[in-house]
C-alpha cells in the first residue's frame, strides 16, 4: 500500500471529501494561506478557494460558534482549534451549544460539525500547548470523540467524521503528524465505535490511545522477547466507546493495562477501567494498571517532559506487575 504521513492522510481526507460535497467548508486560524500550523490543510485554499477555506480571526468561540450556526442551516463545517489547550476560550459553543442543540430542540436540528484539533506533549511546547484532554469530551453527551493513532486510521476516521450528522471532536496527536503508514488512495470510512487490535496477544490486554499506541506496541515487542504475549487494543473513538472489544480482549487475557498520555486522575483510562470493573471484574486475574502522566501541568524542559510522558519502560513495568 502507498505510504503517507499522518498529516498527509488527513489532508487527503479533507480534499477528497471537499471534492465530493460542496457543503463542506474548512475554517480556522491559519488554515488557508498558511495551510495549517502543522500543514494538515495545505493546498486546500489553492484548490477550493477562499469561499471554502477560510482564515479566521483568533476568536475560538466565534470559530466553533459559527460552525454551529452554519451546520444548523445546512452546511458541513470542518473547523480547526489550533491546539486542544485553547478549548478553554471556546468550550461553551462546543458543549452547551453544538453538543446539546439537537436534544434541547427535541430532535429538530442536525449538527454535522467536525472540530479538528491537536493534542500531546513531546516538542517542548509547555503547559498550554501540550495537553491531552480527551476525557473532558467523553463526558459530553451529544458529542463524538475521535483519536486516531495511525495514518490509515486518521484518513478513514476523518472521512467518517465529515460524513457524520453529529458534532465530532477529532483529536490529532502532534507528535504523529510525521509518522508514515499505508493509506489507500480512494476514500474509505472507518466506523466509529470499533476498536482496532493493533497487535494480538494472549497474556495481557493493553488499551492505548493516540501516540501511546506506538509505545504500547514497542513495549509489546519487547515483552514478546521475554515470552509475554501482549494484545494492544486501540479504541480509536472514545465516544462511542467499543466496550465489547475491550471486554472480549480481557476475557481472553484476564489482565488489563491502560495507557494514556493524559494525567491519570479522571482521564479516559479511568472510564475504561471502570467499565471493566463493572462488566468483567470476575475475568480479571490481577489489578488493573494505568500508565499515565503524573498529576502536574506539562513541563517545558525536555529533561522534565521526558519524565512526564509515559514511556515504553513504564508500560513494560506495568505489564510485568500485572502478569506477576
Amino acid at each position: 500500500m502507498r505510504k503517507l504521513t499522518y498529516a498527509a492522510a488527513l489532508n487527503e481526507a479533507l480534499k477528497q471529501e471537499m471534492r465530493r460535497d460542496p457543503a463542506i467548508y474548512v475554517a480556522g486560524e491559519d488554515v488557508a494561506k498558511y495551510g495549517g500550523i502543522f500543514g494538515v490543510t495545505a493546498g486546500l485554499l489553492e484548490e477550493f478557494g477562499e469561499k471554502r477555506v477560510k482564515d479566521t480571526p483568533i476568536t475560538e468561540s466565534a470559530i466553533i460558534g459559527s460552525a454551529v450556526g452554519a451546520a444548523a442551516t445546512g452546511l458541513r463545517p470542518v473547523v480547526e482549534l489550533m491546539f486542544i489547550d485553547f478549548i478553554g476560550v471556546a468550550l461553551d459553543q462546543l458543549f452547551n451549544q453544538a453538543a446539546k442543540m439537537k436534544y434541547m430542540f427535541g430532535g429538530k436540528a442536525k449538527l454535522p460539525i467536525v472540530v479538528r484539533t491537536t493534542c500531546g506533549a513531546g516538542m517542548g511546547a509547555a503547559a498550554q500547548h501540550s495537553q491531552s484532554l480527551e476525557a473532558w469530551f467523553m463526558h459530553i453527551p451529544g458529542l463524538k470523540v475521535v483519536m486516531p493513532s495511525t495514518p490509515y486510521d486518521a484518513k478513514g476516521l476523518l472521512v467518517t467524521a465529515i460524513r457524520e450528522d453529529n458534532p465530532v471532536f477529532f483529536i490529532e496527536n502532534k507528535m504523529l503528524y510525521g509518522l508514515e503508514g499505508g493509506v489507500p488512495e480512494e476514500p474509505y470510512t472507518i466506523p466509529f465505535g470499533q476498536a482496532d487490535v493493533k497487535r494480538e496477544g494472549s497474556d495481557v490486554t493493553i488499551v492505548a490511545t493516540a501516540a501511546m499506541v506506538h509505545k504500547a506496541l514497542a513495549a509489546a515487542a519487547e515483552l514478546a522477547k521475554e515470552g509475554i504475549s501482549a494484545e494492544v487494543l486501540d479504541p480509536r473513538t472514545l465516544t462511542p466507546l467499543d466496550e465489547e472489544s475491550i471486554i472480549n480482549s480481557v476475557k481472553k487475557t484476564h489482565r488489563l493495562v491502560i495507557v494514556q498520555e493524559a494525567v491519570k486522575r479522571a482521564g479516559a483510562g479511568a472510564e475504561i477501567a471502570a467499565v471493566v470493573a463493572e462488566r468483567a471484574l470476575e475475568q480479571l486475574d490481577a489489578p488493573i494498571a494505568r500508565v499515565a502522566a503524573p498529576f502536574t501541568p506539562v513541563p517545558f524542559s525536555p529533561a522534565l517532559e521526558k519524565a512526564f510522558i509515559p514511556t515504553e519502560e513504564r508500560i513494560i513495568a506495568a505489564v510485568k506487575e500485572v502478569v506477576g
Binding site: P57, A62, K108, N166
Partner: protein
C-alpha cells in the same frame, strides 16, 4: 417611512399576543404549572415585533433566555410554545428544552439560549451559511445590554464585520443584567457606539416605539440582503417584571420603573394607531378577543397534552 396599514395591524396584534401570552405564562408559573426559570418579555414587545416585521419566513433569528417574544414575533406557534413551557411531549422540544431552549428551526428560529452571549457566534454562522449558499436570507440576533459585555458578542461582531455577513445585531437594552444597572456594568451610554469597533453602522433607537425599531431594522435588513453586511441596532427599553418570575427586585428604584411604565410600548402604539385611524376601539376589542381565544386554546392544549414518557429521555441525543 410609510408602513402599510395591514402591517401596522399585524404588528399591533403580535405585540398584544406577546403581552397576553406572557401574562398567562406568569399566572401558570405562579400556579406551579410551569417549572424552571421563566424570563418574561413584557414591556419589550416593540423590539421583537419591530425587528421581525422585516423578516421573511426563511430568515433566521437567534434568541436569548428571554425568548418568548422573539418566537412569537417570528411566527412561532402558541400551542407548541405553551406545551413546551408546561414540559409536555407536544411542545416544540418535546418537553426537553423548556423556556430557555424553545426553537423552531423550520421557522428559522435557532433557539432561545441559556447562555448570555451564546447567540452572536451562532448568528454569524447562520449568516455565513446564507452567504455561502448564495441566498439573500438574513439573520436577526437578539441579545441584552448585559450580553454586550460578554466576549462572545465581540467575537461575533468582529467575524460578521470582516466577512460582511448578513446579520442584524439587535441589542435589547433594558438597562439591567439581572440586578446590575447598565450604569455599573459598562462605561458607555450607547451600546450602539460599539459598532464603531467593527466599522458597521450602529444606531440607538427608542425601543418602546415599534415604528422606530421597525425603521431601523428595515434599513439594516436591506443592507444585509443587499450584501452590504451587518448592523447593530440598540433598542432602549425596560422590562416590566422581574428578571425572572420570583425576582424580589430589590435593585430597581420604584420611580424608575414608574417612569418607564408610562412609556409602555403597547398603549403607546395603540394610541398612535387610533390617532392614525388605523385602529378603532371596536377593532382593538376584536383583536384582543382573537388573541385571548388563541391563548386559551394554547393553554388547553398544553394542559391536556401528555408529559413525555421516561423512556423518551434517551432519544434525540444523536442523529442516527
Amino acid at each position: 417611512m410609510a408602513v402599510e396599514k395591514e402591517k401596522l395591524i399585524e404588528m399591533y396584534t403580535k405585540m398584544l399576543t406577546i403581552r397576553r401570552f406572557e401574562q398567562r405564562v406568569a399566572e401558570h408559573f405562579a400556579a406551579g404549572k410551569i417549572p424552571g426559570f421563566v424570563h418574561l418579555y413584557i414591556g419589550e414587545e416593540a423590539v421583537a415585533v419591530g425587528t421581525c416585521a422585516n423578516l421573511r419566513p426563511d430568515d433566521y433569528i437567534t434568541s436569548t433566555h428571554r425568548g418568548h417574544g422573539h418566537l412569537i414575533a417570528k411566527g412561532g406557534d402558541l400551542k407548541r410554545m405553551m406545551a413546551e413551557l408546561f414540559g409536555k411531549r407536544t411542545g416544540y422540544c418535546k418537553g426537553k428544552g423548556g423556556s430557555m431552549h424553545i426553537a423552531d428551526v423550520e421557522l428559522g428560529i435557532l433557539g432561545a439560549n441559556g447562555i448570555v452571549g451564546g447567540g452572536p457566534p451562532i448568528a454569524a454562522g447562520a449568516a455565513l451559511s446564507a452567504q455561502y449558499r448564495g441566498t439573500d436570507q438574513v439573520v436577526a440576533c437578539f441579545f441584552g445590554d448585559g450580553a454586550a459585555n460578554q466576549g462572545t458578542f465581540h467575537e461575533g461582531l468582529n467575524m460578521a464585520s470582516i466577512w460582511k455577513l448578513p446579520v442584524i445585531f439587535v441589542c435589547e437594552n433594558n438597562h439591567y443584567g439581572i440586578s446590575l444597572s447598565q450604569l455599573k456594568h459598562m462605561n458607555v451610554a450607547d451600546i450602539a457606539d460599539r459598532a464603531k469597533a467593527y466599522d458597521i453602522p450602529g444606531v440607538a433607537v427608542d425601543g418602546n416605539d415599534v415604528i422606530a425599531v421597525y425603521e431601523a431594522a428595515h434599513e439594516a435588513v436591506r443592507r444585509a440582503r443587499a450584501g452590504e453586511g451587518s448592523s447593530l441596532i440598540e433598542c432602549k427599553t425596560y422590562r416590566h417584571r422581574g428578571h425572572f418570575e420570583g425576582d424580589p427586585q430589590v435593585y430597581r428604584p420604584p420611580e424608575e420603573a414608574e417612569a418607564w411604565l408610562k412609556k409602555d410600548p403597547l398603549p403607546r402604539f395603540e394610541a398612535k394607531l387610533m390617532e392614525m385611524g388605523v385602529l378603532t376601539g371596536e377593532k382593538a376589542k376584536q383583536i384582543e378577543q382573537g388573541i385571548v381565544a388563541k391563548i386559551d386554546e394554547a393553554v388547553r392544549f398544553a394542559e391536556e397534552s401528555p408529559f413525555p414518557a421516561p423512556e423518551e429521555l434517551g432519544d434525540d441525543v444523536y442523529t442516527a
